[in-house]
């Protein structure tokens, strides 16, 4: 019993450490890659190849003055970044990083919790992240922040529907909502990205929209809204929004890998956890690639794309998958 609790605490600390480290180096990776995409070098001065840049950034953020606008709602203003950070970090608790390992006579599964409804829990927790954005935008009492927050709400609500429908096919094919079960089902049936190619693409698009990244970064469109919902934030609170955004990206990459690319599965010359991280890094690279390639959507186009194109296609494919799995087709 005590040993189990110790293992759990160690796993939680490890997960947070991995995610925070992952955040720092995902950000560096993105800045370097964006540099290369734009024919420049990116940050390469601090340490070899810029490897110490995240530490310099963190120091800078911590030493900055933390300001709050005079008209701001102080309680909600302080609460909002915390909600964003919590929602981003908590989702990863249900994502399995690798096959269960055997250590000291214990079988340790590489996730914090393995509930039978893991996928739905991931959705529930990540759906709370929007509060961080809309509350931050409202509490700043700044019209640009407010507009950013309101845009984020409408966008995330709209794209969540298509996202939810796009994973239904995976659920139907694997007969379980447990993420480990989904990975094991892919071991038996082959990775789901091919039979579920349309939902995979829809999930990818909605994942970008849910993390507010280009081309769906209208909540923080700097050409119209200064910085959107985090205009008034500075110092560590601002940093917390950044942490949330990048960890959300890592989480969505993890979900894409788990749902469509067989999670930790791979040839046996590398351990499963390495396969998992390789796949996640590839997914993150695609996120960065898309950011470097595509310009921002217009807001009405974004809405009609979500409601009139993604949602019906996801629904049709879901009905088709249901017919196929149940043997009607």
């Amino acid at each position: 019993m005590i040993l189990e609790i110790v293992v759990l605490v160690v796993k939680i600390l490890l997960l947070v450490a991995i995610l925070m480290g992952g955040f720092a180096y995902t950000m560096l990776l993105e800045r370097r890659l964006l540099g290369f995409f734009q024919l420049r070098l990116g940050p390469n001065r601090v340490g070899p190849g810029g490897m110490l840049q995240p530490i310099a950034d963190a120091l800078k953020m911590m030493l900055k003055e933390d300001m709050m606008p005079a008209g701001a709602d102080s309680f909600v203003y302080r609460l909002a970044p915390v909600i964003a950070g919590f929602a981003a970090l908590s989702v990863d608790a249900v994502i399995p990083f690798g096959a269960p390992i055997h250590l000291l006579g214990l079988t340790i599964s590489l996730d914090i919790a393995n509930p039978s409804i893991g996928l739905l829990l991931a959705f529930a927790l990540s759906s709370l992240g929007v509060y961080g954005i809309v509350l931050g935008g409202w509490a700043s009492q700044n019209k640009y922040s407010l507009l950013g927050g309101i845009r984020a709400t409408a966008q995330i609500i709209s794209y969540e529907l298509a996202m939810g429908l796009s994973v239904m096919g995976v659920l139907l094919m694997s007969h379980t909502a447990n993420l480990e079960g989904i990975v094991l089902a892919q071991k038996a049936q082959g990775w789901f990205w091919l039979p579920q190619i349309v939902p995979f693409l829809i999930f990818m698009v909605t994942a970008i929209a849910e993390t507010n990244r280009t081309p769906f970064d209208l909540p923080e469109a700097e050409s119209e809204l200064v910085a959107g919902y985090h205009t008034e934030y500075s110092g560590m609170r601002f940093a917390l929004y950044y942490v949330a955004e990048y960890i959300n990206m890592i989480t969505q990459s993890g979900l894409i890998v788990t749902l469509f690319f067989g999670g930790w599965l791979g040839p046996s010359f590398l351990p499963p956890i390495i396969w998992y991280f390789i796949k996640v890094i590839i997914a993150i690279f695609v996120f960065v690639w898309i950011r470097a390639t595509l310009p921002r959507f217009r807001y009405d186009k974004l809405m009609s794309f979500g409601w009139k194109i993604l949602l019906p296609i996801a629904f049709l494919y879901f009905v088709g998958t249901a017919a196929f799995v149940s043997g009607v087709l």
Binding site: D73, F75, V76, L79, P115, S116, I117, L120, L121, F123, A124, L125, S127, L128, V130, Y131, V134, L135, G137, W138, Q141, K143, L146, G149, I150, T153, A154, I156, I157, E160, A177
Partner: protein
């Protein structure tokens, strides 16, 4: 058991705050707290699917829409007390609430229903159990609710359909000028 009491107290505080707090956004936040508390109660009952559905539907969707409207309407406005149009309604509300709550508590304490003491089935509120229930004995009710919701959705669409306006007559275009010309004129 201790968990149930802690969550219950938190939910009660949240529920009272929804009514008492002046700032609508704070009330909405308290309401979110109550829905999450309810989800936790489901978790304690091991009704995992119900709990997650509660969070996804209420905290993740409905309350977001609430906040959307509330933030849009209250932005930049000073907090102010609406005038009491019905004198004494506050006290009447408090007293009625207390009486009803106490009455319910007394009834439950003196006549505990038999079902409270029987154990729930192991898979109560889980994904498979709920699915079998809904698509088995309760299928007719499920179809009825689905039909009702569909009616609601179609009703919203019909009520909000854009008016078919005759733009030409509204713009009072001089004869011989087409709408396209007028549009291009406007752009210049």
């Amino acid at each position: 058991m201790v968990g149930i009491f802690i969550i219950g107290i938190l939910m009660l505080v949240g529920a009272v705050s929804v009514v008492v707090l002046r700032q609508p956004v704070h009330s909405a936040l308290a309401l979110i707290g109550v829905t999450i508390g309810l989800a936790m109660l489901y978790f304690i009952l091991q009704a995992e699917f119900l709990a997650v559905a509660q969070v996804i539907v209420y905290a993740g969707a409905i309350m977001v829409l609430f906040l959307f409207v509330v933030t849009l309407l209250t932005a930049g406005k000073e907090e102010m007390e609406a005038e009491d149009t019905l004198p004494g309604q506050r006290w009447a509300g408090i007293i009625t609430g207390l009486v009803v709550g106490l009455g319910l508590a007394v009834v439950i304490a003196t006549h505990p229903p038999a079902k409270l003491s029987t154990a729930l089935s192991g898979s109560f509120g889980g994904l498979h159990d709920l699915g079998h229930q809904l698509w088995g004995p309760y299928f007719v009710m499920l179809a009825g609710v689905a039909l009702m919701l569909l009616t609601g959705v179609i009703g919203v669409l019909v009520l909000n359909r854009p008016e078919t306006v005759n733009y030409k007559s509204r713009l009072d275009l001089p004869s011989g000028v087409s709408l396209v010309d007028a549009e291009q004129e406007g752009k210049k």
